[in-house]
């Protein structure tokens, strides 16, 4: 009812693809911690990467609300796959907004997944506090030399191209950081081992090490010293993406729980006939709907060019906390089965946890919400 005809169509096509291809594959992908190239190829054909990339640059050119709808659906199938879509969306948004004509030439390869990307921000001493990064890029002739290291980078074990945040001026604080487009097959780039995570295990995550990696003059994205700013400029959209992803995980949990409650029998009747189980289901449904509406509201604000920071943080924070709490309820509805590997809800509970942590911890989101409240007033 909040979506227009085109958004409904996108929802429909994504949903049928998710039900037929992604959701049935999730259990094995989680178990094998495998990068699902074959699914990404199909998604690329359907145009599910780079949803916001304008038509003239080879994308479908959809708005943020449509992106949110796609992310929720993909995540209802499997969060790792949605997160790949989110990653490509962020990188392509950066390229569209700040890339030169020649830098944008890689967009078709990125959208078709022939070129895999990584967004390289986090370092051992710089997690939430990005200003602590130690990776440096120093001028060298008309190019740069990159030194340092990154950790917990999504796609690091498989990526071809990194978008690397590095310090270009030691004394300029947040204005002394720049983003570089780095060939990860170049000399001096070393990949750390793949991390084994609690959830979203098909996402390949690891470290990257840079030793005297030479970068050409075309490696700098946008202006020197504007890296932090560029990163912040895509944060709102990133948070809408993660909020949608959290809603999708919870929605999958609800669907599984409703089905199970209607088939599992104890004391001679379906457990859905017990009020205790009904209340679990009702609470799941209402909180999921509330989170979804926060996401739609935040996405719509971005699309209308309004100040969306508070809304995006609210959506991300609420949806992440909700997903953890309500997938726990889904496990509860399943009882002992919900604790067993191979049952979808067991994976969903693990997959949900990271949504309280990445794209800004939910503690940071609360700080942002409070800051916005105190600065701009209680009315949004």
């Amino acid at each position: 009812m909040f979506l227009n005809e085109v958004q409904e169509q996108v929802l429909e096509t994504t949903r049928s693809f998710v039900d037929a291809v992604i959701r049935p594959a999730a259990e094995a992908l989680d178990r094998e911690e495998r990068f699902p190239s074959e699914i990404y190829d199909q998604m690329a054909e359907l145009g599910l990467f780079g949803i916001g990339v304008p038509e003239e640059l080879g994308g479908p050119g959809f708005d943020t609300l449509t992106y949110a709808v796609v992310m929720e659906e993909l995540s209802r199938g499997y969060a790792s796959i949605a997160d790949q879509c989110g990653l490509v969306e962020l990188i392509s948004t950066l390229l569209v907004r700040h890339g030169t004509e020649s830098q944008r030439k890689i967009l078709p390869e990125i959208l078709s997944m022939r070129r895999k990307v990584a967004y390289c921000i986090t370092e051992p001493e710089a997690g939430t506090d990005v200003s602590g990064i130690r990776t440096t890029a120093e001028r060298d002739g008309n190019g740069w030399v990159l030194n340092g290291g990154k950790i917990w980078i999504h796609n690091a074990p498989v990526a071809d191209t990194g978008f690397v945040l590095a310090r270009t001026n030691k004394d300029a604080g947040n204005r002394g950081m720049s983003i570089f487009i780095v060939d990860l097959h170049a000399q001096g780039v070393d990949r750390g081992p793949k991390e084994h995570k609690m959830g979203q295990r098909a996402s390949q995550v690891g470290g990257l090490d840079f030793q005297d990696v030479r970068l050409g003059p075309d490696a700098l994205l946008g202006e020197e010293g504007r890296g932090f700013h560029m990163m912040m400029s895509v944060l709102d959209k990133g948070r809408v993406g993660i909020a949608s992803l959290a809603v999708g995980i919870a929605q999958a949990g609800l669907e599984a729980a409703v089905d199970y409650a209607g088939t599992r029998k104890q004391f001679g009747k379906h457990i859905s006939e017990f009020q205790g189980v009904q209340w679990l289901l009702a609470d799941m449904a209402k909180d999921i709907e509330a989170a979804r509406l926060l996401v739609y509201s935040a996405a719509s604000k971005i699309d209308r060019g309004l100040d969306a920071t508070r809304s995006c943080s609210m959506a991300k924070c609420f949806a992440g906390d909700m997903a953890v709490a309500r997938t726990a309820d889904a496990v509860q509805v399943f009882g002992g089965s919900g604790y067993i590997r191979g049952f979808e809800v067991e994976r969903l509970y693990r997959d949900a946890k990271i949504t309280q942590i990445y794209e800004g911890t939910n503690q940071i989101q609360r700080m942002i919400i409070a800051r916005e409240l105190l600065r701009k007033g209680a009315r949004s």
Partner: protein, 253 residues
């Protein structure tokens, strides 16, 4: 070659339908609707024929309520070049009888002059399986129903039909009406860029009064009932008991 593909907006196949309290039919208010799956297959075949260079234009048509516009948008996103909607009612609970649809289509064929009408063998709501046959009769064209394979060559269609007990291959001269069965193909997913492109494709809207076709119902629904609830099975203790029950209780052996 120009192909006309009629598509019907029907209750989505995932929906658990409910019979209206007065038994006059199925309650369609607030129910999710989509393109009739057999029509989707017909459209996919038409689009494939165009991709193979055998067809030059694919026109999707629908008759019914204004909301069938959404179904036609899906058809355009799947690859139809343009669409025509004939609005016959504003009440979502109204359904057209096969003869009315066939007459409307016959009128459209007069103006569109397609070489082939490719359509679903039946709609999954009423399962009439009659519109294609009636249309062929009204037009005086050949028909090939229940198609599981269609080959177009030298102004004729060689069609493999799914008939009781096997497959039958026939040849019909074009123009003809071909109705699609389940195994003709597997329809594609609509891609996001094509959804965007479909917005710019032409969708012509006509009113039933513009067409001048009498769609007054000829049939009267006497009663609509839910299927009987399946009763629980029985566990048997031995093969002998099973045979005894099959013989005396079920009466099947």
């Amino acid at each position: 070659m120009k192909i006309l593909v009629p598509v019907k907006r029907v209750v989505d196949y995932n929906v658990k339908v409910r019979v209206k309290a007065d038994g006059s039919g199925v309650d369609l208010s607030g129910v999710k609707m989509s393109m009739n799956p057999f029509d989707e297959i017909a459209l996919e075949e038409a689009v494939r024929l165009k991709e193979k260079g055998l067809a030059t234009e694919v026109v999707a048509v629908s008759a019914g309520v204004g909301q069938a516009r959404d179904t036609l948008r899906t058809a355009l996103a799947m690859g139809a070049d343009r669409a025509i909607l004939v609005e016959t009612s504003t009440d979502v609970n109204d359904d057209l009888e096969p003869l009315a649809v066939a007459k409307i289509l016959a009128k459209l064929v007069e103006t569109e002059k397609p070489d082939l009408v490719l359509m679903g063998k039946q709609a999954i709501d009423n399962d009439m399986n009659a519109t294609g046959q009636m249309l062929a009769a009204l037009l005086g064209w050949g028909q090939a129903t229940f198609a599981s394979q269609v080959d177009i060559k030298d102004g004729a269609a060689t069609v493999t039909r799914e008939v009781d007990g096997g497959l039958q291959t026939i040849r019909v001269n074009l123009p003809a009406v071909v109705t699609a069965d389940l195994r003709l193909n597997e329809p594609r997913y609509v891609s996001l860029p094509n959804i965007m492109k479909a917005k710019k494709k032409p969708l012509e809207e006509k009113k039933i009064s513009d067409i001048g076709v009498d769609i007054t119902p000829r049939l009267q629904v006497v009663r609509t009932v839910e299927p009987a609830q399946r009763s629980a099975g029985v566990k048997v203790g031995s093969v002998d008991e099973l045979i005894e029950k099959l013989k005396n209780q079920a009466g099947v052996i």
